[in-house]
Subunit: 352 residues, 2 copies
């Protein structure tokens, strides 16, 4: 099933609980806004596109579950639910975008029934558009891969971060769908220990999520530590690198910490380094220096789960992202085609 979807029988949200992977594959149901908020906060659903769908479906959920007897009361309920949802992850732009888009779509509804219908249709449209966009992106990207290629990737730019198909991993799925034999090397992607205040939970999105979703699709994948990318590229084991992106400025690609290191190694060995991301990732108003990199908690490197792996008071530097300068990027694969740096901003604007 998709990462997140709607159960038309019960009118609930259903999703894959990503905190349990890969040890357990469990579909959870959210029948209240409270349970959806908990799922978002606990990262049971994560990834910008998936959160957009979560926001949209969340608004639909509040429309279906409200006991309001008048349209005005229903709209009030929905707007409150929307605010509660957005507050769960205030920096997740897609979440609030999804909430607002669905609320806007209900504006012309004339009664409670129509409101519910309009909301659900729009939420479903967000999810469907995401899948379609990734499949277009995947098709463009697939043209870059040759039969027999091995692709190194970092973190999880896969279907679990989206509604389905994925970006970097979507390119691989599309190439496989074209009949090409593609193998993947997945970096485990340290550290990202998420979790509640009481416990840190290791996420290692490469080892936990990327390997799992590729194995589900029977795509051959080999897991390595992040530090091994130099060794495997030197040994000729990698034909291309494809990673996702959190934000793309005019001069740099921001992505999970470690991406820049892989880009240097790829350049050293003459291996193409591609970024796969929807055009909504472009932020061409800004330059690298305008973007502040989130510094995460030291505990992520001092503990693994609840196991201490460093002195409790050791100084830690834990940036969540790094910036890869555009000169290290061979091309950016989007649903509107492939862009090759240096960007001709006007051309990009036309196509975006």
């Amino acid at each position: 099933m998709r990462t997140i979807d709607w159960d038309y029988e019960k009118n609930n949200i259903i999703m894959i609980d990503q905190t349990l992977l890969p040890a357990e594959y469990r579909i959870i149901e959210c029948s209240t806004i409270e349970s959806l908020c908990e799922a978002i906060i606990s990262l049971r659903v994560r990834g910008a596109p998936a959160l957009g769908a979560a926001g949209g479906f969340g608004v639909a959920l509040s429309a279906f579950k409200s006991n309001a007897s008048s349209l005005d009361a229903l709209i009030k309920n929905i707007e409150n639910a929307g605010k509660t949802l957005i507050a769960t992850r205030p920096t997740a732009v897609n979440l609030s975008w999804g909430v607002k888009r669905v609320i806007r779509a209900m504006e012309d509804a004339r009664n409670i029934k129509e409101t519910r219908m309009f909301a659900l249709d729009e939420a479903k449209a967000i999810a469907d558009e995401d899948v379609k966009k990734n499949m277009q992106l995947g098709e463009y990207g697939a043209s870059l891969l040759e039969d027999g290629d091995t692709v190194l990737t970092h973190c999880n730019a896969g279907r679990l971060a989206c509604v389905d198909w994925g970006t970097a991993l979507g390119v691989i799925r599309s190439a496989r769908a074209d009949g090409k034999d593609i193998k993947v090397i997945a970096c485990e992607t340290r550290p990202l220990n998420q979790g509640s205040r009481r416990e840190t939970r290791p996420l290692n999105q490469g080892s936990r999520l990327t390997t799992w979703e590729l194995m589900e699709d029977k795509i051959p994948v080999t897991l390595i530590t992040d530090s091994m990318s130099g060794h495997v590229m030197r040994k000729g084991m990698v034909d291309k690198v494809i990673v996702g992106a959190d934000r793309i400025t005019q001069d740099a690609v921001f992505n999970k910490i470690g991406t820049y290191t892989h880009s240097i190694i790829a350049k050293e060995h003459g291996i193409p380094f591609y970024v796969a991301a929807p055009v909504s990732t472009f932020d061409f108003e800004r330059l690298e220096d305008d973007v502040e990199i989130e510094i995460r908690k030291p505990q992520e490197l001092r503990f693994f789960g609840n196991r201490q792996i460093a002195p409790l008071d050791v100084d830690v530097y834990n940036p969540a992202f790094d910036a890869t300068p555009m000169e290290n990027v061979t091309g950016i694969i989007t649903e509107n085609g492939i862009f090759y740096p240096p960007f001709l901003i006007d051309e990009v604007k036309i196509r975006v």
Copy 2:
């Protein structure tokens, strides 16, 4: 205290139990060959130079604890103990070297008392020589560091791998002893989960050992993941890289996996990349291609301690070491001075 030493009151071996660090600092005593073997197998003591001393002290221990009433019987006991010791880690060259050197030193002993004295003197000499060698190496290396430098290091080439002082970290200690203000960035060094058959135990020698021993000596240290080396070097946070070595051939330096990646990043940013290792690490009869790299178990990447972090049946590539070609190495710091590639083999031979 030293990593491993002799207790002259009880005639026992004492050592820091490295499997408990950094959560607990505990000195353990070995009063029997059996307990020493257990300590070696469980990696309570590890690192080539430290194992050399463990072998030497082990022979002395067997001489002191034997109940033999004749010199011949004593020698027989000692030889058996030596074989038992060597069998604990058959590929650890230094361990058997230490055992054999001390057994040889007892050959001229005329009675039981002299045998014990000769054995202990020789074991102590091995330990003392190791410290002296590292301090000489450290002095050469310190000349390369400037006041205010920040040094990035990988794995643990510190005093815990030796009897005291360390190689890469010995250079930093010597520079600090010269009054220079040196800071360290330590990479956590994935994966190396060691342990018994029933449990894997995370070692991460950077986060667990390097940080601990530097903090004990009040040397400022910041912990990062291995993947962050690109980001920190790009941000100008690193002045020099210093790593240890497991083996140095004519054309390459073999060291803990991830070292090669750091060497590329350093080269990209014009940062000097030094290797610190005693001349006993040189293996100039061989080339890189003659050396087989140990491939370790997949479980090291599938589990962290007893926590599953990847699909149980995911394919894993887990080389323990990588090779850094000599063109990436600025210099090799030894107790006989600093060697600059390309090596003039004859000159090296004279100085080694």
